[in-house]
């Protein structure tokens, strides 16, 4: 929002007042954040929508979480035989993630037989309170990056800030859609008062960008993966190891960030949804833009069911590090 106010205030004296609006009652809809990727079972979070001005309680997630739906995912093999799986909420202590998945993962020590495969189409059906909503998605073939490396950020003001850069060769023979997510597996914060550091981990994956290859089709080029910023244009940089000074003059070393990059190929309906996320943040409060709904691929609900053709890279933020091999994540890593 602020950028538009800035823009307008260049020219004009503007003022704003809080107003109360009488909006029509919101329809009750389910919101799906569902995924299936190559080599992993499907995983889904289900929430409810709310009226825009509904009050926000002290624990808002509990107000919207739906953990008692019947969730089914199926696909067809080459011979047209149906292969399906029922998804259930993860048991404690993982229940706070509210993820529906194949709980054989836990019960059967990780051995599951319904795993995503590139090239296949997957169907989703959710039944909750007599509401039935459906969706489908296809997992495209993953395309690996040529390599990634870490170098000092050109735009950041501190020496230890680094960017993850990559070389990517887009396959010329297919029209594809790319989605990038990332999360810091390790990140250290500094507390000046107590002169201590604290390790943190991002959860879940943060969305970086999505789009089609219309402009880059068949090209080989250098790009970079900025650190996602909450609700905005992802432009941040990562931390390499550095020292901070405490009040007593002693110094403390903060270790480097360790970043997991999820580089995916997705189908077009999914791409249109994900790309809309950035767009909607951009249009909220833009006086010139029409408000835009996210383009859901869920029939009868909101949100998205995405098939990801993924490759993962684990990148320690150490200047000069080059990575040209994929990382094999475990099931918890992929959320």
């Amino acid at each position: 929002m602020k950028k538009y106010l800035f823009f307008i205030s260049i020219f004009f004296i503007s003022c704003q007042d809080e107003i109360t609006l009488d909006l029509p009652q919101a329809e009750n809809k389910l919101v799906i954040e569902g995924a299936i990727e190559n080599g992993f079972p499907p995983y889904i979070i289900i929430t409810k929508n709310q009226g825009y001005f509904d009050p926000i309680s002290d624990n808002p997630l509990l107000d919207i979480i739906v953990n008692d739906a019947i969730v089914k995912v199926w696909t067809y093999d080459e011979d047209g035989r149906k292969d399906s799986v029922m998804l259930e909420q993860l048991p404690p202590p993982l229940d706070s993630t509210f993820i529906y998945t194949d709980i054989n993962l836990i019960d059967n020590s990780g051995l599951v037989d319904f795993l995503g495969e590139a090239g296949k189409t997957y169907y989703l059906e959710i039944n909750w309170n007599n509401q039935i909503i459906t969706s489908e998605t296809t997992i495209p073939n993953p395309t690996p990056l040529d390599c990634l490396w870490v170098q000092q950020s050109e735009t950041a003001d501190k020496d230890f800030k680094c960017d993850i850069r990559a070389l990517y060769s887009d396959p010329a023979d297919q029209q594809n859609n790319i989605l990038i997510k990332s999360k810091r597996l390790e990140h250290y914060t500094f507390n000046e008062d107590s002169c201590t550091t604290k390790k943190k981990e991002d959860f879940p994956f943060q969305f970086v960008d999505a789009g089609s290859d219309v402009l880059i089709n068949g090209q080989s080029f250098e790009t970079y993966f900025p650190k996602p910023k909450e609700n905005g244009f992802p432009t941040g940089a990562y931390n390499s190891s550095h020292e901070r000074e405490c009040d007593d003059g002693s110094t403390l070393e903060l270790k480097e960030d360790i970043v997991l990059i999820k580089f995916c190929q997705i189908d077009e309906p999914s791409m249109k949804f994900w790309r809309g996320l950035i767009r909607q943040v951009g249009t909220n409060g833009n006086p010139f833009a029409e408000p835009m709904n996210l383009l859901s691929n869920i029939n009868g609900g909101l949100g998205v069911f995405t098939g990801y053709g993924t490759v993962y890279y684990k990148v320690p933020i150490i200047k000069g590090t080059t990575i040209d091999y994929e990382y094999s994540p475990n099931i918890i890593d992929i959320f």
């Binding site: 929002m1 020219f11 809080e18 107003i19 609006l21 009226g51 001005f53 879940p204 767009r279 909220n284």
Partner: protein, 782 residues
Amino acid sequence: MLKHFFLLVIALFSFNILAQNNYTISGYVQDESSGENLIGVSVYDKQTYKGTASNQYGFYSLTLPQGDYVIKYSFIGYKSITKNITLDKNTRLNVSLTSDAIIKEEVIVTGERLDKNVSSSNMSQAKIEVNNIKQLPVILGEVDIMKAAQLLPGIQSGGEGNSGLYVRGGGPDQNLILLDEAVVYNAAHLFGFFSVFNADAIKDINIIKGGMPAEYGGRLSSVLDISMKDGNNKKYEVDGGIGLLSSRLTIQGPVQKEKSSFIVSGRRTYIDVLSKPFMSKDSPFSGSGYYFYDLTTKINYRISDKDRLYLSGYFGRDVFNFGNTDNGIGIEIPWGNATTSLRWNHLFNDKLFMNTSLIFSDYRFEFNIAQSEFELKIFSGINDWNTKVDFLYQPNQRHTIKFGSNYTYHEFTPGNASGRSGEVVFEPDEIFKQYSNEGALYLSDDFEVSEVVKIHAGLRYSSFQHSGYISFRDYVKNDFTTNQDNYRHIEPRLSFRYRLNTSSSIKGAYTQNYQYIHLASTSSVSLPTDLWVPSSAGIEPKFADQYALGYFKNLKDNMYETSVEAYYKEMTNLLEYKEGVLPEDNTNSSSDDAFAFGDGDSYGIELLIKKNKGKTTGWIGYTLSKTTRYFNEVNDGIAFPAKYDRRHDLSITATHKLTDKWTLSSVFVYATGNAITLPNERYVIGENVYTEFTSRNGFRMDPYHRLDIGATYTPKKKKKFQSSWNFSIYNLYSRKNPYFIYFALEANDGEDGSFEEGTVTPKAYQVSIFPILPSVTWNFNF
């Protein structure tokens, strides 16, 4: 079709043969002091009131039976003159009128024939006098003809400060905006806040919102026909003004006295220059700025009494720069129009006038963004090559016949992108373009059937040929065999006047219009990012038919003009982006499948009371209307109000000449609030909250109203130097008119908050942009 067309031409010409012993008086009417051609001057016989009006080039032709006449020439703002004429042969008579301002008469000389409001067969038309609107209070001292037009009934603004025109329920792309006959595709500077026309270079504006005559076409809703000044052909003259936002300078004068003259007029804003010292070099936005400029030039040459040449040009650019040193992002957005018109007026004889034009028009938009070694450039545009021939034939005083042809070659660049990452350049193999041919033939007759009945009947035959990606050159190369999408239509235009008595009449009009090019817009106002796209196999032309009926009455010897008009307009094949489609989906390709098509209708009543004479002049305009859209693929197929649907729209303007030195003016407007789309649901994806709207344009903002006052002080002329001060106060009572509304999840403790932790509250804010704004402009002339 063609055969019938020419038969009609021949039939109309035959009137000439029937008329016996008639002679024609014809010539040009011009301004005494500057030699400018005057448009719309009434020329009539004082005894019988038979008459005509000068055309766009100041030419008139009046055919009367042999005899003695007292011919009167009258024009608002000028002293009327009469000429005694014995008409026993065809007579050429060029006339000069003296401006009322120069002769310092307080009351404009009564021109008995100033009853055009009642007597003409035109309805739903208005003329704006540039000199009159210069007296009105204006925002930040910028005189704006588009904003003056919005004060007329039936014409609405897009919102606070917006210079776009919304005529009788039609969108901004449905207006044919002509500057010396060249189409201007984007008439807005500064994202719509100001129009691209510099009032100093404009002579005359004619607005047609209904009953469109057959010589105009290609748009559904209106014509804004703007004529540039020709340039003083008697003496050199310099006009200028210094305002808060911009400065203007106009130089005009004879190249060869009475034969050839020129005018050059320029304007530039200086917010960028003025704000620089105030913006700290360390500010993250230190590279940001905005300016616009425009340049208008015209030169004309009178080859002989029968031939005149005009060459006019317009060039304007807006440039917006945004730099943020925090993240190294730099954005530059330049856009603008350029037009050139070369016109040749030729008089075949006293009754037949011809104008031939060659016109080039170009609009382009660019968006450049760069961050370290990444660059992205998005560009789009349209350019036209246009040639037209127009004939005006006035065989006798009862017929005014117009016919002609118009051909345009359109070149569309609907949306191309190129980029660079380090050394690697991303470029489409070739720039994606589309080409179309648009043509029209027309014929119309303004026919005075009797004292009581006057009919204006016209036919326009229009055709559009979309050749897709095949340019004309390739088309010729391919032996004219390329597949093309063709549309051909006949557009009837009919209006009548039925005179009830000398001071009142009833008029009606029915018109059909086709529009072959479309503006695809993702925003709620007309923005430079909007794309022009041609009709094609997948996009049918827009169509509208419009019915209008009105009662016209003049009071107190034409001191007051009043009218009530009712209209009903139906539109089909209107176009919008499908929900969720972004313009970049069609980067480097055709956008045909990005659109949803639908219909619209609009109906309303317009009331106008206008006072033309006396110390106090001005008008009251009121419109009551309703505009609806019907799209299967938008809003779940449910009818929704158009963005510019406005139940009530009231404008009152008044100008009062207090003394020789002081003129006061004021404007009051009231309008129903804009229909807007607001999200009414929220939901969570990942950690972020997103919104969903369920009803298109389902919410109304608060009504818009505002009072402006102004005063013009004109001290006595010193030698040749004349100056004036224009003081304006915009929004006198500082009404907080809604400009837009936005939603935000605001942190409860004023700092960081998050939805997950329940430390935010949903809030709605209304932003108003123009509180009370005084301004002063100094104008000079020597």
